[in-house]
């Protein structure tokens, strides 16, 4: 009976992908994304494991990663799967994460069967990629609802499970995760955000008791969990160095983390997006220890002094002044927030001034990408949106579960919403968003995952000449990962 209910819900989710409202904003021209999901062979559908109990993890969707897993010079795609929730009495359905190999021109072939441990069956959340053991091949860390995993690649697209040997152990509800060399010793350390302390065996009833009105509980119902910092011992084994690194005070319902040199001193600082609690900016002291720069920088809250539901993150030099700014996606009735780096670790919330308030006030923002999507030399923003509450229409008649993605063109001193072909043309429950040149034509294509829905690839047919790598910047997205671009 429960199984049947789930099937029906997924059918409904697919049906709910209606046409997006017509974009009223000024047409900028220059942007054109074409949905090539089917044409390029991507057939991944996320299984949220929806239950009548409305467990909050069902709303999260999952991440994805772009990297050259098989060392053939193009970007392959790894997609995280959900599946049955880890509740006692429920059998794992064997639904695995999937690895798609790029054939060089963007066409994807499902190579999960030859990916070894990458065919992971846990209820997945996010993924971090990097060469953790220093052997020149891409490795992965998987954050899960339940036991996380460390997978070591051999450069052919095959992975072994090295979780136990790596010393990394986390069975909590973890989310955003990222490899970065925190202590400048040449190897990649790991930061893993943990989200909420949720008891799946005793779910709380939230919302009205009327039939069909049960709702997902707000994160405020649950305690946050502390993030963890894992120091790489140099060979792919890790020790929990959270306290030694000065990161103990990191209880904040973390969803996203992005390393970036925010104080322009040559080492990587860390910005953490926390849901409904203060975001954190951790300043690297140069030796892999961190001090809390949140208050000084003003990046913990928005310009009104209010916490927001930080989810997705991107960093880049949006105003072309030589330092890195921060962009954070948030919940509805909050805008996404752009913090401009003023230097000296002072940031200013310039969301409204840069025209980013109104377009992002109503949607629930998740994955975001800061990239030069029209190859004009500056960083544009793409955001995928989608509410977490599947029956939100019952509670707020102006809101919807599926929402349109946004593309925001950087005009030099402001951003302008633009239509972008198929990207944002359909309402979806978007979660992770990545950018990468899948067809090796010199521009950046977009990959978007959905909660309980199909992952999509949008080929970039935008006008403009130039290189995908022309603007640099630091990339991260909600639960997803891309190797840093030079």
């Amino acid at each position: 009976m429960m199984r049947r209910g789930m099937v029906l819900l997924f059918v409904c989710a697919a049906c709910s992908e209606g046409a997006a409202p017509e974009l009223q904003e000024q047409e900028m021209g220059g942007f054109g994304f074409v949905d090539v999901t089917g044409e390029w062979g991507l057939d991944f559908v996320h299984d949220a494991g929806v239950t009548p109990e409305k467990h909050l993890p069902e709303t999260m969707g999952a991440g994805a990663a772009l990297a050259d897993f098989d060392s053939d010079g193009d970007l392959d795609l790894y997609l995280i799967q959900g599946g049955e929730l880890p509740v006692s009495g429920v059998e794992d359905d064997g639904n695995t994460n999937r690895l798609y190999r790029n054939q060089g021109d963007g066409r994807m072939v499902d190579a999960t069967h030859s990916a070894g441990a990458a065919a992971h069956t846990g209820y997945g959340m996010g993924v971090a990629i990097g060469d953790a053991d220093g052997n020149g091949h891409v490795d992965m860390y998987l954050s899960c609802l339940g036991e996380d995993a460390m997978l070591f690649g051999n450069g052919t697209g095959w992975f072994r499970d090295g979780t136990a040997a790596s010393g990394v152990r986390d069975e909590r509800w973890t989310a955003g995760c990222v490899f970065f060399d925190a202590d400048s010793d040449g190897d990649l350390d790991l930061y893993v955000t943990a989200y909420l302390d949720v008891d799946l065996e005793r779910p709380t009833w939230c919302g009205d008791r009327k039939e069909g009105w049960r709702s997902y509980c707000h994160p405020d119902h649950y305690d946050g969990l502390p993030d963890r910092f894992w120091k790489n011992e140099g060979n792919g084994t890790f020790v929990d160095a959270t306290a030694e690194a000065g990161l103990s005070d990191s209880v904040g319902k973390g969803l996203g983390a992005i390393p970036a040199d925010l104080d322009s001193d040559g080492d990587l600082d860390l910005y953490v997006a926390n849901d409904s609690t203060e975001n954190r900016l951790w300043v690297n002291e140069g030796d892999g220890t961190f001090s809390d720069g949140t208050i000084l920088s003003g990046t913990g809250v928005n310009a009104r002094g209010v916490t927001e539901a930080g989810m997705g993150l991107a960093s880049g030099d949006f105003d072309s002044d030589g330092d890195l700014d921060l962009y954070v996606t948030n919940f509805d009735d909050e805008s996404n927030t752009l913090y401009r780096n003023e230097g000296g670790l002072i940031f200013t919330d310039v969301t409204a001034r840069w025209g980013l308030d109104a377009p992002t006030r109503m949607p629930v923002g998740f994955g975001t990408v800061a990239a030069d999507l029209d190859s004009d030399g500056d960083l544009d923003l793409a955001v995928t949106n989608g509410h977490i509450i599947d029956n939100i229409e019952l509670y707020h008649d102006g809101k919807t579960h599926a929402q349109s993605a946004l593309l925001l063109e950087n005009t030099g001193a402001a951003f302008q919403p633009v239509s972008a072909g198929d990207f944002g043309a359909t309402s979806r429950v978007g979660r992770c968003l990545l950018a990468g040149d899948l067809d090796s034509d010199g521009d950046l294509d977009l990959i978007e995952t959905a909660c309980g829905g199909a992952a999509k690839i949008y080929r970039n047919d935008s006008a403009g000449e130039g290189s995908a790598a022309s603007t640099g910047g630091v990339q991260a997205s909600y639960l997803g990962s891309m190797l840093p671009r030079e």
Binding site: D208, H218, D220, S276, T277, E278, T294, I295, L296, G298, G300, V301, A303, R304, G305, V306, T307, S335, I346, A352, R353, W354, G355, L356, D357, A358, R361, M362, Y395, H396, D397, G398, A414
Partner: protein
Amino acid sequence: MRTLLLLAILALSAPQGPRELWSQGERARAITALGAELEESESATSRRLLVDWCFAVHRYRAALDAAEGLGEAGGPLKGRALYFLGRYEEALLLLPETDGEAVLMRIEALQALGREWVAWVEVAGDLLGGTDERVFGLKGRRCMEQGEHEEAALWFEAALEVTPLDAEAMFGLGRALLLGGERERGLGVLERHREVTPLLDALDFAERGLDLAPAHGANHAAVGDAWRSLVSFDRGSYRRAERSYRKAVNLMSGAERVPVHLRHARLVAEHGRGALTAAKILDGVLEEIVDVRLLVRAADLYLEGGEKREGVERLERALALKPDDKEIARRLREAGGKE
């Protein structure tokens, strides 16, 4: 007699009017009923009420639809609904320029659209009066935009004089001091803002729950708890907490009131008239509800206030109600009483 009984049953089971439903906290049903009533017979008063009710439960699209029926008179209400729906361009066409609250929305809408808004701050000031803290906050915001940090700090301080828990003013003051060169003082204010922020978030969360179910006593108690946590930042929160606990108790019955009385006693003991007053409050409750939790807490408060005999007496009564409770027995022994 039988007829009277039948009439009473009929009266109880008769469909209730929308206003009764609303007053009982049945907000969704009240809105549906009032909508149906308007379909039967149009009335500007009832329609206006429907719009207000839709706003109260955050159903802005429904408010917009309902306001349509008011003709031109519904313009300002439609403007407000459009504002809350994030349709700022349309809202700006309808929000009246002569209403202070609407001008505040106009300013927010203009800001959201990245347009010029500064000139409207004076208009808001003229309409809302010289002591409205929101106008002070806007003036602070305006000065920050213009890099006038010293003046911004003065405006934010003025806002905090009126509303000590204004998050924007507190954050703005800290930032203005920091950027204006008063680094240590600014960081101090920002530390205080950091401490109060989660408490304000909890209050906001509790108030949203209350909006949806105002007849649910536990929601009032949750708001009371949120206010109680803010008392050390603003004494005015004490009365708000008391008021919320009182409303919660009025909506509850019997033993379900006990946790609320205990929380009220904690408020009084920690932030009000001290342990002994709190103990006496619980004594008053014990006249209505005999509950071991009330007795134990009253005992604690009496002992804390130095009234050992009273404390022991309450513990003895508690143990009489729960003779096998080892913890109460232990505490009674420690207090010098006899088991």
